[in-house]
């Protein structure tokens, strides 16, 4: 037929062109890939990841099932602490450890968008946690990774629908359960949730089934920060604030709490409270305002790369205030273009300092993380790694009563509330594991090690350690 014949000729012509373009495209891609190098071994975007050690072929599940014998553990893949010692420290009873079971868990993280760096490091922590749990005789964790697109409320709601429709009743979350948008479904679907990325914040406290496992940043750190400031700058009094615009409701409670803490510390709020858009790199509007109203201490409540860009521009503009930020990331270092290294960068939060960790779990985590990913873990990787262990701890509590019991969201929540002090990779020493403690009312942490640190010239130095509310304050000489 004419029509068919025409199509064939047409298709043939396009095919040759396509071949030409395809070849050119492939060559370009090859050049591009070569130029990019192997920078990123990112697998964060994958879904339904069976993250257990089984895929490694190390028969992890049988490595340390004996657990309690201090001498029985074989060396972990990274050459870290013997898993037998670790099993004993974790109090693992092989009967309730869950070996042979496969547990489905969700993880709704920032896998794409501006915060995809966070999603990547969090998935690394979770994957390594699952691998170690299997090595220690635990179940196989099968994660369903879903994307909230770095704070997109609609994406978060959709992810929750997907998890609930799959019958998954345990999940890891970030961004304060995606800045509150997923909290209703978390409660209605009875999905037991640990948020080690954003915590509860001030706005999501006491929400059923939702637990924030990191300190509320920056508010939990402020008493300790002010104590450090008063000790080191006794003649300075005024405090100003610049931070992210996180939405009216969150901004309001954050401001009220911050101003109250400034007053409680005997310092003086100088009237500067400027909120800036999330993810902005150009601070040319806010810096002149700060300069005209410069406080002695400027609290910088912004995150990711933003503090780096701000530090660079503040340095050029000649701001002299002591600047205190509340997060330290490689993105910030890169964005600072040398300002962090040159001028120093002060920050305060529950920062994970790989150099100061001594507990067997921390050492194994850090060494294996380095072996797996070629770099030290940051605090997001640490938080999600330890939260995988917290999930397992809750499961073991359930299985210790009935080895065949279902790990429903309700059962997990009840199991956690039996003892709200759980295992952590922060703190501890050579013979004990670190812990953190959650509050039964607020569902946020009541005890978590944090401090004031300074990054300068490629080194991070602790200046003071304290707990929530400035408790147990200890200056580092």
């Amino acid at each position: 037929m004419d029509r068919d014949g025409t199509e064939i000729v047409h298709e043939g012509r396009i095919t040759r062109r396509r071949m030409l373009f395809g070849t050119a495209g492939a060559l370009s891609a090859a050049v591009l890939l070569a130029a990019c190098g192997g920078d990123d071994d990112d697998d964060a975007g994958s879904n339904d990841t069976d993250a257990a050690a089984g895929s490694e072929g190390t028969s992890g599940a049988s490595t340390a099932t004996g657990g309690s014998a201090a001498t029985g553990g074989s060396a972990a893949p990274g050459g870290a602490a013997p898993t037998g010692d670790l099993a004993a420290l974790l109090g693992i009873d092989p009967a309730s450890a869950g070996a042979g079971k496969t547990i489905e868990l969700g993880a709704v993280l920032a896998l794409t968008g501006t915060g995809s760096y966070y999603g990547k490091t969090m998935t690394r922590g979770l994957d390594l946690g699952a691998k170690h749990i299997a090595e220690l005789g635990g179940p196989t964790f099968k994660y369903t990774y879903l994307d909230h697109k770095s704070g997109d409320a609609a994406a978060g709601v959709q992810a929750m629908q997907e998890l609930i429709s799959k019958g998954i009743q345990m999940k890891f979350a970030s961004y304060g359960d995606n800045i509150g948008s997923m909290l209703t479904q978390t409660e209605e679907g009875k999905v037991f949730t640990l948020d080690g990325g954003g915590g509860t914040g001030i706005f999501a406290q006491g929400k059923p089934f939702f637990w924030g496992t990191r300190a509320i940043t920056p508010n939990d750190t402020l008493p300790g920060v002010f104590q450090w400031f008063k000790e080191n700058y006794p003649d300075k009094k005024t405090v100003g604030v610049m931070g992210w615009d996180a939405g009216e409701e969150i901004n309001a409670v954050g401001k009220e709490d911050t101003l109250a803490k400034i007053a409680d510390a005997g310092l003086e709020f100088n009237g500067l409270y400027e909120l800036v858009p999330i993810g902005g790199q150009d601070f040319s509007q806010v810096i002149p305002k700060i300069k005209s109203n410069e406080p002695d201490l400027l609290l910088c409540g912004h995150y990711g790369q933003d503090p780096g860009s701000f530090a660079d521009q503040a340095s050029t503009a000649g701001l002299t205030a002591v600047k205190m930020s509340f997060e330290f990331t490689p993105d910030g270092v890169n964005a600072s273009k040398g300002a962090y290294d040159r001028d120093g960068y002060l920050f305060s939060y529950d920062y994970f300092d790989p150099k100061s960790q001594k507990s067997p779990l921390s050492v194994k985590f850090i060494e294996d993380f380095n072996a797996e990913y070629g770099e030290d873990p940051d605090f997001y990787a640490a938080n999600f790694y330890e939260n995988a262990f917290v999930m397992w701890e809750c499961m073991r509590r359930i299985w210790s009563k009935d080895p065949e019991a279902e790990t429903t969201g309700e059962a997990m929540d009840a199991a956690l509330q039996e003892d709200l002090t759980v295992v952590s990779v922060y703190g501890g020493d050579e013979s004990t594991l670190g812990t953190y403690t959650l509050d039964p009312k607020t569902h946020s942490v009541t005890k978590r090690l944090m401090g004031v640190f300074e990054y300068k010239g490629g080194e991070t130095t602790p200046l003071a350690f304290f707990n929530i509310g400035g408790a147990d304050y200890e200056a580092v000489s």
């Binding site: 990019c36 990123d40 040319s284």
Partner: protein
């Protein structure tokens, strides 16, 4: 109430001017593409990002000289713009017929999103430091700025003037203007509109790419860096007029940036972007009123007189 000094005002003005040069250049490129081809080129932000990443790659992975790397990044991204027109938009527009506008818009949106995520996959999600010449601060009129600000302004003004001159005095410029006025009619007098479209996409992306290099030098390179510029490019192009001279569009970029800067005197910084959109809405309302039947009644006698 926060203190506001004259020094603050001067700093806001100087920063606004330099920032406006970036908005202006972005607007010039976007207006050229939208005005001539009618394509809502949402992938503009992706190409902006791509230019910076390519320059970064050649400078820091291949270790070529900075300026050569920057030039290659700009040219390759501009070629990418032309390829998108030739290989995606044009075939789509032809096949879509009356719904071409929507088809191209959706395709552009898709390329923008897929492109941004492809950059994440290829280069990683992390922010990358982009170092070039040494940053040098200057203080004039008690306002601080850096050498990159000056170079950004100089390149923006030069490109805009060159583009305006090209459109006015060269044969290519006349072909572009003829195509902008009526592509079908232009075809009947022997102008290859398809070729003009490809050239326009090259030139428009070139403007964005140059702006991207300065942005990367001043700040940093990250996969989402093109999201906001495409919005400002649209606002600037729309307020400046997509059928108007590049000089007018460029000037509008400075006006937009100054509105943003000055609004921070009265508003919190978080609301200054909103201020720009309020101006856009007011302008749209003005246009609507201007063309309404009510105002037409007053202009009819003049038409009659003519």
């Amino acid at each position: 109430m926060l203190a506001l000094t004259f020094e603050t005002f001067r700093q806001l003005t100087v920063d606004g001017f330099f920032r406006g040069c970036s908005y202006g250049l972005l607007g010039v490129g976007f207006a050229l593409i939208l005005g001539v081809t009618g394509r809502f080129h949402f992938a503009y932000g992706f190409l902006y990002t791509l230019a910076a990443y390519l320059a970064f790659t050649f400078a820091f992975r291949v270790n070529w000289p900075f300026w050569l790397s920057a030039a290659i990044g700009v040219v390759l991204a501009s070629v990418g713009g032309s390829l998108i027109e030739a290989r995606v938009y044009r075939p789509l527009a032809r096949n879509a017929g009356p719904t071409a506008l929507l088809a191209v818009f959706v395709a552009a949106l898709g390329i923008g999103i897929a492109g941004e995520n492809a950059i994440r996959l290829l280069w990683g999600a992390n922010t990358q430091s982009f170092y070039g010449p040494t940053k040098e601060p200057y203080t004039v009129w008690d306002a601080i700025f850096i050498n990159f600000d000056v170079w950004q302004a100089a390149s923006g003004i030069t490109i805009t003037l060159a583009l305006a001159a090209m459109l006015r005095y060269t044969a290519l410029g006349r072909r572009i203007k003829a195509t902008r006025a009526n592509p079908d009619l232009a075809r009947t007098i022997g102008i290859d509109s398809d070729r003009v479209y490809v050239i326009v996409f090259f030139l428009g992306t070139f403007c964005a790419s140059v702006a991207a290099i300065w942005y990367a030098l001043k700040y940093t390179v990250d996969p989402a860096m093109g999201t906001l510029p495409v919005t400002y490019a649209f606002v600037t192009a729309f307020l400046g007029g997509t059928q108007r001279s590049p000089i007018r569009v460029f000037s509008m970029g400075i006006v937009v940036a100054l509105i943003e800067q000055y609004s921070s005197i009265w508003l919190e910084v978080r609301y200054t972007q909103t201020a720009v959109f309020v101006v856009l809405v007011l302008y749209l309302t003005y246009l609507a009123i201007k063309s309404s039947a009510w105002t037409a009644r007053f202009s009819r006698p003049r038409i009659a007189r003519a």
